[in-house]
């Protein structure tokens, strides 16, 4: 097999001559993965298939058209429907006769895999390849074909592969900006996954649906779906992170800031280190939500490694809010408006204006025990037709909301701040301390809950071969966790 591939490469020098050394090994890897899937399917061991998917992701950068084609010739029965479909997506490298040759000779040596798992895996591989090659329209067609095929397979061992396929299905449509076309399809798939108790599929599809709705700003529908869809223990950390992120977004829009903050922070915390883009997104939203809540995020938030640049606009925004300078706020908002609109946080930033005023007001109330309303208006740079009346109403609202502790003397048109007492004589520190402790305990509990123990590990008398296999897997997993480049957020 390897010889044939090399031969083919020799005749197709420009595209992949430089990688001829690595190609055979890639194909070899792919074959190993295929056999892994096969054993997993026969033994009904989902973990093997999970591992296969993980290995594939590691391979994707090395994947070449020729390799993929060779693998498909290897794995699929020549002349089968899937084979015909998939090989059509792969470039034939101009020499059709040679191709046919390799194909026919290749098909002789291999057992005829009729496993649906292998077929689905081939779809996945080609799909990933197409997306990496930025051939999005073909990817879209390919993914649609794979989904049509998936609907007819009801095997739990396919679930892992299927969930990846769903993801790329939606991703390819997003890239071609046709997400709305597949919403119905996704709903149907979600239904199917629920009926088949494919929880991983449900999770993935629910996230894809939420993403789909949010893409079109259909927050209301997203929330309705989210609240109605069945919930269960999360299976995949990545999917759970995404879910939390979408949940945070929905809640932010629906003015439930406290809950939103919790979800967003959790999402940022749970996300793997490698998923930088996702974490930046989470942080952006989290910063805004915290500002909306009247909190000022710590400087360290913006100084996180690799995020300084991306978070600069939000840092400046935070600064404006912290100072309570409406003017500065305006300039910042204008300066970065393009960033904000691409982040789709513009509407939230409009909501922030109110907070800026309030912060300013608080600063005033701390500084002055008594100040006239016109001065307040001046300090806040209210430039409306009747600044004093405006200031009066703003102050009144702030007092009612409990943002400042003051009274208004309407007759003399001034604001009287109350004495700020010693905060350490109140229960405030205790409450703050308690909330921190509760947070730590909660974190600990969650960590304990997240621990996983292999079933029956204590009595399973494993053979030497099995032990070696397990150790290898564990090492791989450790490496994988260290790298954590699984998901493209």
């Amino acid at each position: 097999m390897t010889q044939e591939v090399e031969m083919k490469e020799a005749q197709a020098p420009p595209s992949n001559s430089f990688s001829s050394a690595s190609t055979p090994s890639t194909l070899q890897h792919l074959k190993e993965i295929a056999s892994l899937i096969e054993t997993g399917a026969y033994a009904k061991e989902v973990r093997r298939i999970v591992r296969a998917v993980r290995l594939t992701i590691m391979l994707r950068r090395k994947l070449k058209a020729a390799t993929a084609l060779a693998f498909i010739n290897f794995a699929l029965v020549q002349g089968s429907e899937a084979h015909a479909k998939l090989s059509a997506y792969l470039p034939k490298e101009d020499e059709h006769d040679m191709d046919v040759d390799t194909a026919s000779s290749a098909s002789q040596g291999f057992a005829k895999h009729a496993l649906p798992e292998i077929e689905i895996y081939c779809y996945l591989l080609v799909l990933i390849f197409l997306i990496d090659q930025k051939r999005y329209d073909e990817a879209k067609a390919c993914s649609s074909a794979s989904i049509a095929r998936l609907k007819n397979i009801n095997r739990r061992t396919v679930d892992v592969l299927a969930s990846r396929l769903y993801f790329y299905y939606s991703y390819s449509h997003e890239l071609t900006n046709s997400l709305d076309e597949i919403r119905g399809n996704l709903l149907a798939l979600h239904r199917m996954a629920t009926l088949r108790r494919d929880e991983l599929g449900q999770e993935t599809l629910l996230n894809l649906l939420l993403r789909n709705y949010l893409h079109y700003n259909l927050y209301d529908q997203a929330e309705k779906l989210r609240s109605k869809a069945p919930r269960f223990e999360a299976h995949s950390n990545q999917q759970f992170c995404r879910y939390l992120f979408y949940l945070g977004k929905i809640r932010t829009i629906q003015l439930e800031y406290t809950d939103a903050k919790e979800s967003l922070l959790q999402a940022a915390r749970k996300a793997p280190v490698a998923a930088r883009g996702f974490r930046i997104q989470c942080n952006k939203w989290a910063v805004i939500v915290r500002l909306l809540l009247g909190e000022i995020p710590e400087r360290t938030v913006f100084m996180q490694k690799g995020m300084q640049k991306a978070l600069t606009p939000y840092f400046e925004l935070t600064n404006a809010v912290r100072i309570g300078d409406l003017e500065l706020f305006k300039t910042v908002a204008e300066k970065f408006s393009s960033t904000f609109s691409s982040d789709r946080t513009n509407n939230l930033i409009v909501r922030l204006r109110h907070n800026v005023i309030r912060t300013g007001l608080r600063n005033i109330s701390i500084s002055y025990s008594r100040i006239s309303l016109s001065d307040v208006a001046k300090k806040l740079r209210l430039d409306s037709s009747n600044p004093v009346a405006d200031a009066e109403s703003i102050v009144a609202k702030a007092i009612r909301d409990g943002a400042i502790d003051a009274t208004i003397d309407h007759a003399s048109r001034w604001m009287l701040s109350k004495e700020t007492g010693d905060i350490y004589s109140t229960n405030e520190p205790q409450i703050a301390f308690h909330s921190r402790i509760a947070f730590c305990l909660n974190m600990h509990n969650e960590a304990v809950k997240a621990l996983r123990f292999p079933p029956n590990s204590h009595k399973e008398k494993e053979s030497a071969e099995k032990r070696r296999e397990r150790q290898q897997q564990e090492q791989e997993l450790a490496k994988h966790i260290a790298e954590d480049d699984d998901d493209d957020f």
């Binding site: 149907a188 309705k224 109605k228």
Partner: protein, 1004 residues
């Protein structure tokens, strides 16, 4: 806008006043519900109110929409009820997830409703007619599409016998459908009464067929306990002039006998006799019956009662004949009676076990030598192991050779040793009593022997006649009446219980009860068990009587005996037993709770009933008494023996319990349920337990392992060899605990039980429970408290043989093929002395030759014995020449076969000769040769099979002549009663002689 992004517009329309608008909205929603169900779900109340609005025209459409929304929300119950409301709008045949899911839900719902209403005995209590209509539509569709098996399954599940009948009768292969249905009823119908109903239906359908399958009908009828119908069928078959019908009748009877339902068989037999009055020989038989009674009452002589009956009958029947048809009929009836009484099968089994005995005396010798003199536990365990190894073979060479060693058994050990003889001679109905005569209590003469050996002998008689005690009951009763020694009472009670197992004989019950009321601990315990054995499976009110006494008495032994007895009474009664089980398991006395565990085990034996398993697991982890917990786990083995693969999984956690009692129970549970299967998981579970830290756990695990591995040889599972070596090591180890040593000795006995020709089998081939076997194992598991009960395990031994019989119920020469490597199923190789002494630097050559010489001597002795016997036969019958010669050839062949086999490459098949050893694992490889002279009536790979002779005019060559009893009766060919009479007496003459002929011993 290409795609509508929200359904809010349509939802708003629902609130409009105009019905047309609402209708339009509903129509739209119905088609869009799959896209917008999250949105619509918030407005469900509005749509619901539309459905409830009587004036609204399209209420059903509203219902449909609501149903769909609920479906998407995962509320299948609500969805279903609205779908039913939608009536015709809900399209059953629609090919969508929605329709499929709801249909499945509807079936489930319907089935559970039906089951519930059945439990409350309400007919069709509040079942929605619409639901019923849907289910019926589904069933009809299945039937019309030709998916009969699905239809049958659903019909059984939904308790729709009418539909079941329809499905069966309309299927293209009614016979296949019926057998499928029988399977279904046994493995999936958990409710006993309902199963009876299903079976009744099956029988009804069978009988309507042009060519009914009588074998299956009779099996069903047996389960339904309808002896009348069985008797009628048998009678009809016998009356028919065709020989095949008679063969069929014989086959049916053999199959029935295999299920060991004594009371039922007796009933069938009596009814067959009642049918007789039409025949002219009524008079004769009447006198037979009376003479039987007369005989048995007065009997004191050594001759077995049954034989008397035989003689009387055979002499009388010919006298009364007038019509040739009647002669033929009564002759056939005679044979049939022989089969139904179990005598025929027992006799054949005995002959088979005797002739094929391959027990390895060297193992016993090793055990004997390594066991310490003074250790009475191991001593009696060795005797017991010997008994088990030779169970049913009548070979007591070992005992005879070691009489002095044997005499070291005193007191209860003596009791066991004597009882062991009963195991060895198990099934030797004719000579049983004469064999035991020296030990039996002599009437009149008091103090003739020790009460222990007398008691043991009575127990032995019970073991010999287990479940076939017609002939011996009377004698045992008298013995019981005539004694006041509690040891003899103990033996007599056990013997009676065994002999009259499950017959519910009132008189015997009363007598045993009297013994119980003497409140003597030793006798009372046996009486309790005996009462249970008598009433086994009858679920009679006697149980409450026994329970009351158990509360009264102070003796733990009696309470224990009674609680086991109570458990035995509810054998196989399933739900019927629930009240009693409840009573027992709630009791304050742990011994009664312990009985409750047994009651659960026996009532739900082999059903794998979830409720029972649940209850047992609960007790296994929560009871305060170790005994109860141990028994609860052990009981799981009984509940699960029909699905042995499940047991290791279920008890795997328990086998790691910190509590040794629970571990012990887990080991035995696996042993019981996986007995004779050689199941790999079972062995893996037991392996670590055989080296447990606690001695009695090791004991249990060793015994259980032996039960699992019985008849498995090393080429099937290499762990068998390891296990045998482990046993040897434990036995030889001086520092091993007595408990585990005893376990190892017993295990070696069980492993090679019955001359390596029996297995432990709790299910008959037709998947019925073998009551004797199950009861035997249940009482056996009591050996924890009382060692003599170990012998009860012999009840569960069933020979692994193919025995083909011709019309005369003789064993003709007949060959068939086992399509597998012979080494897979061959006997384990006999042990050789060097293995034990290889460490010592002795010239091994000497030892091996001496061993060979020894074995040769043994063979020679055997052959000489044969020759002796056959010369005897020659004297008595002239026709014995042919078979004898062939048989000798056979033996010689076997002798030199062993070396030959090793030389050449192993063949992939093996030709077996009737009667042959066919172990359970081998059954699937058995093929019958095309074009052979005999054709089996029923294609069965083992057990008793009637053979149809295709060349009746030619002389038949018979096999199986080297039997310990009735030898010449089988060889003397023609079945005419006169010669049977003669042969009977000659057989007696032969058997008067001791088995191993002494004169030849020193020549070797």
């Amino acid at each position: 806008m290409a795609v509508v992004s929200s359904a809010s517009g349509l939802l708003a329309m629902l609130n409009e006043d105009h019905p047309a608008l609402k209708l339009h909205a509903l129509h739209k929603l119905n088609s869009l519900v799959n896209l917008f169900w999250p949105e619509i779900s918030t407005s469900v109340p509005t749509i619901e109110s539309l459905y409830e609005d009587e004036e609204f025209e399209q209420r059903q459409l509203a219902a449909l929409v609501v149903s769909k929304v609920f479906y998407y929300l995962g509320e299948l119950n609500d969805s279903l009820s609205y779908a039913l409301g939608a009536g015709p709008m809900f399209d059953v045949s629609e090919d969508s997830d929605y329709a499929h899911t709801l249909l499945a839900k509807a079936l489930d719902e319907y089935a559970s409703l039906k089951t519930k209403s059945m439990k409350k005995n309400e007919e069709n209590a509040n079942i929605d007619p619409r639901l019923e209509a849907i289910v019926e539509r589904m069933l009809d569709k299945c039937i019309s599409d030709g998916k009969y098996q699905q239809a049958m399954g659903m019909a059984v599940e939904c308790r729709r016998l009418d539909k079941l009948e329809e499905a069966i009768t309309r299927s293209d292969n009614v016979h296949a459908a019926l057998s499928y249905c029988i399977n279904l009823s046994h493995s999936f119908v958990y409710h006993r009464e309902y199963r009876c109903e299903v079976l009744r239906l099956i029988v009804a359908i069978y009988q309507r067929l042009p060519s009914p399958d009588y074998v299956n009908i009779c099996q069903c009828l047996m389960f339904l306990n309808e002896p009348e119908a069985v008797a009628n069928i048998l009678e009809r078959l016998l009356r028919s002039s065709a020989k095949d019908d008679a063969l069929l009748a014989f086959q049916i009877s053999f199959d029935l006998v295999e299920n060991e339902h004594q009371a039922f068989l007796l009933n069938v037999r009596n009814r067959l006799l009642d049918l007789k009055p039409r025949a002219t020989s009524l008079l004769g038989h009447g006198s037979v019956l009376t003479s039987e009674n007369g005989d048995t009452v007065s009997t004191d002589a050594t001759a077995a009662v049954t034989q008397d009956v035989h003689m009387v009958e055979s002499s009388q029947v010919p006298n009364g004949t007038v019509d040739p048809n009647e002669v033929a009929y009564s002759e056939k009836l005679e044979k049939l009676k022989g089969i139904l009484s179990g005598e025929k099968s027992i006799q054949l089994t005995l002959q088979f076990l005797y002739s094929h005995n391959r027990s390895d005396l060297l193992i016993l010798k090793t055990i004997k030598q390594s066991v310490e003199m003074r250790n009475s536990v191991c001593h009696s365990a060795t005797i017991c192991a010997n008994a088990l190894m030779h169970a049913g073979t009548t070979v007591d060479t070992f005992l005879r050779e070691n009489l002095e060693w044997l005499s070291r058994a005193t007191n209860w050990a003596k009791f066991s040793a004597t009882a062991g003889l009963g195991v060895i001679h198990g099934g030797h109905l004719q000579q049983g009593r004469s064999l035991m005569a020296p030990y039996l209590p002599q009437s009149g003469a008091v103090g003739g022997g020790s009460p222990y050996s007398e008691g043991g002998a009575l127990y032995a008689l019970g073991l010999i006649h287990a479940n076939h005690g017609e002939g011996i009951k009377q004698f045992l009763r008298e013995s019981l009446q005539n004694t006041s020694s509690e040891v003899i009472q103990h033996g007599a009670c056990l013997g009676l219980g065994l002999a009259a197992l499950g017959t519910a004989d009132e008189d015997i019950y009363e007598e045993v009860k009297n013994v119980l009321y003497t409140d003597s601990a030793v006798a009372g315990e046996a009486a309790g068990i005996s009462m249970g054995l008598l009433m086994a499976g009858t679920s009679s009110e006697k149980a409450s009587e026994m329970l009351a006494y158990a509360h009264d008495t102070q003796h733990e032994k009696i309470i224990r005996g009674l609680s086991l007895g109570i458990a035995l009474t509810v054998y196989g009664r399933e739900e019927e037993a629930d009240t009693l089980i409840e009573q027992l398991t709630r009791d304050q006395d742990p011994i009664l709770r312990y009985g409750g565990m047994y009651a659960l085990a026996l009532a739900y034996r082999g059903t794998a009933n979830n409720k029972a398993i649940h209850q047992l697991l609960h007790f296994a982890v929560s009871d305060v008494s170790d005994d109860v917990r141990r028994t609860a786990v052990l009981a799981l083995g009984f509940v699960l023996y029909s699905e042995p693969e499940q047991t290791p999984r279920i008890v795997s956690l328990l086998s790691e319990s910190y509590n040794p009692h629970v571990r012990y129970g887990a080991a035995l549970a696996v042993g019981i349920s996986c007995a004779g299967t050689g199941l790999s998981e079972a062995v893996s579970l037991l392996e670590p337990l055989t080296s447990d830290v606690v001695d009695f756990v090791r004991q249990g695990a060793l015994i259980a392992m032996a039960m699992v591995m019985i008849q498995t040889n090393e080429s099937c599972d290499h762990r068998v060899g390891t296990f045998r070596r482990q046993l040897e090591k434990i036995i030889l180890d001086k520092h091993e605990d007595t408990m585990s040593k005893m376990g190892a000795i017993l295990a070696s006995g069980i492993l090679d039980a019955g001359g390596r020709n029996v297995t432990i089998r709790l299910l008959s081939k037709s998947k019925h429970d073998k009551i004797t076997a199950v009861v035997g194992l249940a009482v056996f598991s009591q050996f924890w408290y009382w060692y003599p009960l170990i012998y009860f395990i012999s009840l569960s031994f069933s020979p692994t043989a193919f025995i083909g019989l011709n019309y005369d119920l003789k064993v003709p020469r007949f060959e068939f093929i086992s399509n597998a490597k012979p080494s897979l199923f061959e006997y384990p190789r006999p042990t050789t002395p060097p293995t034990s002494t290889s460490a010592v630097k002795l010239p091994t050559a000497v030892l091996s030759t001496s061993a060979k010489a020894k074995s040769r001597a043994k063979k020679e002795a055997e052959q000489r014995a044969l020759a002796e016997k056959s010369s005897n036969e020659d004297a008595s019958s002239s026709s014995g020449k042919g078979p004898k010669a062939s048989d000798k050839d056979n033996d010689i062949m076997q002798v030199d076969n062993a070396p030959e086999k090793k030389a050449e490459a192993e063949r992939s098949f093996e030709i077996l000769t009737n009667p042959a050893r066919v172990i359970p694992a081998q059954e699937k490889h058995i093929r019958f040769l095309e074009g052979s002279r005999y054709v089996p009536v029923k294609v069965a790979p083992s057990g008793f099979v009637l053979l149809r002779d295709l060349q009746p005019e030619e002389a038949e060559v018979l096999a199986l002549t080297d039997a310990p009893s009735n030898v010449s009766s089988t060889t003397s060919g023609a079945g005419n009663p006169a010669s049977q009479l003669g042969s009977g007496s000659s057989a007696m003459a032969i058997d008067e002689e001791p088995q191993p002929p002494q004169p030849f011993e020193y020549l070797a």
